[in-house]
């Protein structure tokens, strides 16, 4: 019974899984603009993070390791800051020293489109642009679940 209730509560959480990933274009830390749809054909991991979400500090180095390993296999990792103060977000990202592109979203539209409910949030988009996995929050070990999904998507 409790399992049923848990399943019902899970299904009640709105999710984008199975739907086309909403497109966005954002300015990145290196000054280039990046548009999600331009990565069609590659597997994309989009990590929404915020300076004030302490889990982001743990998750970003793990994502950096994933990016280093799977980048050549066709994985693209994009970190999207949802901080309103992009200057402070930039300082934070600088300190984290990650190798993947960091984008700054200062408008609420993208967060709304991606149904962000908890920070950080990680989305996996397959080669055809469909959201295949979504995870809210982060705890140590979650990166292993990301890896399972990434390997599967890269094989498709």
């Amino acid at each position: 019974m409790s399992a049923l209730l848990a399943a019902a509560s899970l299904s009640a959480v709105p999710s984008l899984v199975g739907q086309p990933a909403p497109d966005f274009a954002l300015r990145s830390m290196d000054g280039k603009n990046r548009r999600l749809s331009e990565f069609r054909g590659q597997v994309v991991l989009v990590n929404f993070w915020a300076r004030w979400a302490s889990d982001s500090r743990q998750e970003m180095p793990a994502l950096d390791r994933i990016n280093t390993t799977y980048n050549r296999a066709g994985l693209v990792v994009l970190g999207v800051s949802v901080d309103e103060d992009w200057r402070r977000a930039r300082e934070f990202a600088d300190a984290m020293k990650v190798g993947y592109p960091i984008l700054f979203d200062t408008t609420p539209d993208i967060g709304r489109n991606y149904l962000l409910r908890k920070m950080p949030m990680t989305i996996l988009v397959d080669r055809s642009g469909v959201v295949r996995y979504s995870s809210a929050g982060f705890k140590s070990g979650d990166e292993l679940a990301y890896l399972d999904q990434i390997r599967e998507l890269l094989r498709e």
């Binding site: 274009a25 954002l26 300015r27 280039k32 603009n33 990046r34 548009r35 331009e38």
Partner: protein
């Protein structure tokens, strides 16, 4: 033919075929027209050959119409009907799309704004912000690929909306890198009269070679 009667006729066809199969190839040959005789199944059967090679059988076979190699006519009609329905659905979808476009952006209130770029030696486009009657309607960030497409002659529809008949003001802000890689922000304004028909406006970015500066214009395609 409605779907119910189609189902009944399909069931009948299947029933007849199954009955013929259980009764053996000889019976099948006797029940069916001589020309429609199919080769016997692989199972051993003592029945005589389906089509006799003797002279008596030949005229019968010649009189009867040849057996169709394709599925029975009933199935063919059904398939044609399905194909027809598919086409109808596609046509309906198309009509709905056109209707939606007409409802959302009726031609008499429609305003479309396009962006084009020529040469681009003095300006690398980064973003365009559009304001109509002092209200921001679009803010578009260009990736390197999109900017390149514009330089190659592409024209982008940046905005499609509706406006009432009368005087309106369009302000476009262009940001990017100007000569010697410096940050560059310029604006262009156009006051236009929106008539009864659709209005097409073009934001043109060109190079002014004499001044070594980019030039931003709004063209009214009236």
């Amino acid at each position: 033919m409605n779907s119910k009667s189609r189902l009944v006729s399909m069931a009948l066809c299947t029933g007849i075929l199954a009955l013929a199969w259980t009764m053996g190839p000889g019976t099948f040959a006797a029940a069916a027209p001589a020309g429609a005789a199919a080769p016997p199944p692989a199972a051993p059967a003592p029945a005589p050959p389906v089509v006799a090679p003797n002279a008596d059988a030949a005229p019968t076979a010649a009189e009867e119409p040849p057996a169709p190699a394709t599925p029975p006519a009933e199935f063919k009609t059904l398939d044609q009907e399905v194909q027809g329905m598919k086409k109808e659905v596609i046509d309906l979808n198309k009509d709905l799309f056109v209707l939606q476009e007409e409802l959302l952006f009726p031609a008499n209130t429609q305003v479309a704004v396009y962006v084009s770029m020529d040469v681009g030696a003095f300006f690398a486009l980064d973003s365009v912000t559009l304001k109509i009657d002092n209200k921001e309607v679009k803010n578009y960030l260009y990736t390197a690929r999109e900017a390149e497409a514009l330089l190659k002659g592409g024209v982008q529809e940046i905005y499609l909306g509706n406006l009432k008949v009368g005087k309106h003001e369009l302000v476009a802000f262009f940001t990017g890198k100007g000569p010697v890689e410096r940050g560059y922000k310029r604006g262009a304004t156009l006051t236009f009269d929106k008539g009864v028909g659709a209005k097409y406006l073009e934001l043109k970015i060109t190079d002014r070679v004499t001044k070594h500066q980019p030039e931003f214009k709004i063209k009214d395609w009236d």
